[in-house]
């Protein structure tokens, strides 16, 4: 029961990241529970292994390479980039594309607002319009007077 409650705590206990009361709780439990004591020992072993991972010394030429890279970066920053022939066109191209797209959208919206619209079902846009009374009489059920 208690084992399942503290299942996620041993690593925090080993690294000292538990609150004091939690640490006391875990400590008192692992002194009496072999399974949880083994779990804590496994975590301790993992952390010791991680902390003791060797790192080779920095290669001899690293600092010289870094200085050379820094010098090259500084030089690149100081030298202005030559402006290519298509530079100004490239700069304005996105604005032109946007303006063109907007114009196309405007024309299509205008056409749909002021255009002929959708034709009716009785025979297209050229068919004569039907009056309200004619429509009612033609659609009335027999025996029911409009």
């Amino acid at each position: 029961m208690i084992c399942s409650l503290i299942r996620n705590l041993p690593d925090l206990y080993v690294t000292g990241r538990l609150a004091a009361f939690e640490a006391r709780w875990v400590k008192s439990h692992i002194t009496s529970c072999a399974k949880c004591a083994a779990e804590a020992a496994a975590w301790r072993s993992l952390f010791e292994g991680l902390r003791s991972m060797p790192v080779p010394p920095a290669p001899a030429g690293l600092k010289a390479a870094l200085k050379a890279a820094a010098a090259a970066a500084a030089l690149k920053e100081e030298t202005p980039e030559p402006e290519s022939d298509g530079g100004s066109l490239r700069d304005t191209a996105p604005s032109l594309a946007f303006a063109f797209g907007f114009a196309v959208l405007f024309v299509s919206v205008s056409a749909s607002m002021f255009g002929p619209g959708v034709s009716n079902q009785s025979g297209g846009a050229d068919a004569p319009a039907i009056g309200v009374s004619q429509f009612i009489s033609s659609n009335s059920v027999s025996g029911v007077k409009p």
Binding site: N8, D11, T15, K35, A38, E39, A42, W43, S45, L46, F47, G49, L50, R51, S52, M53, P54, V55, P56, P57, A58, P59, L62, K63, A65, L66, K67, A69, A70, A73, A74, E77
Partner: protein, 173 residues
């Protein structure tokens, strides 16, 4: 000696150590450190001299690492290669106790290699969190600041990374 040269002298080795832990091999660590320094110089106008240059460089190093890994896709890291002279008994750190038996040294080296291999198989995010918190012993807050993530994201990834490590090492309880 210019300021840049002084920074390189002062922080080059430290940055290399972090880069090696992240990348797991010398060639990639070299590239990463070099790119981080160049980025730091490119963004020099953003650096506030009132703050620690090492910490600033560290942040750039980790961000370059994470961005670079994302750009390369989800390629798995190769395990950490043995350090120079590591195969010699007693080489590496920490120094073994004088009374330690050869069998104990061999066992310790084997454990260390397994841990290095497992660390190399973690995802970039998990690895970065574990390196900062469990290898370098930084707090969650410090790690979150370096990685520019919320503290909750860092603690969640550390939690998951630790359990993945145990799983890979076959010591999951």
């Amino acid at each position: 000696m210019s300021d840049i040269d002084k920074f390189i002298e002062q922080y080059g080795a430290q940055a290399y150590a972090a880069a090696y832990r992240l990348t797991g091999n010398e060639a990639d660590a070299w590239d990463l450190v070099q790119e981080a320094f160049v980025r730091a110089l490119e963004k020099a106008e953003l650096y506030n001299p009132a703050f620690d240059f090492g910490g600033w460089l560290y942040r750039i190093l980790f961000r370059v690492y994470l961005n670079r890994r994302r750009a390369h896709g989800r390629r798995r890291e190769v395990p950490l290669e043995p350090a120079v002279g590591e195969d010699q008994p007693g080489a590496g750190e920490p120094a073994s106790a004088p009374e330690e038996s050869p069998a104990a040294i061999a066992e310790r080296n084997e454990t260390r290699d397994s841990i290095s291999g497992a660390l190399g198989r973690l995802s970039e995010e998990h690895r970065a969190c574990l390196v900062l918190v469990d290898v370098e012993g930084r707090s969650y807050d410090e790690a979150a600041e370096i990685l520019d993530w919320p503290v909750g994201s860092v603690s969640g990834r550390v939690f998951r990374a630790r359990r993945l490590m145990r799983e890979m090492l076959g010591t999951q309880g």
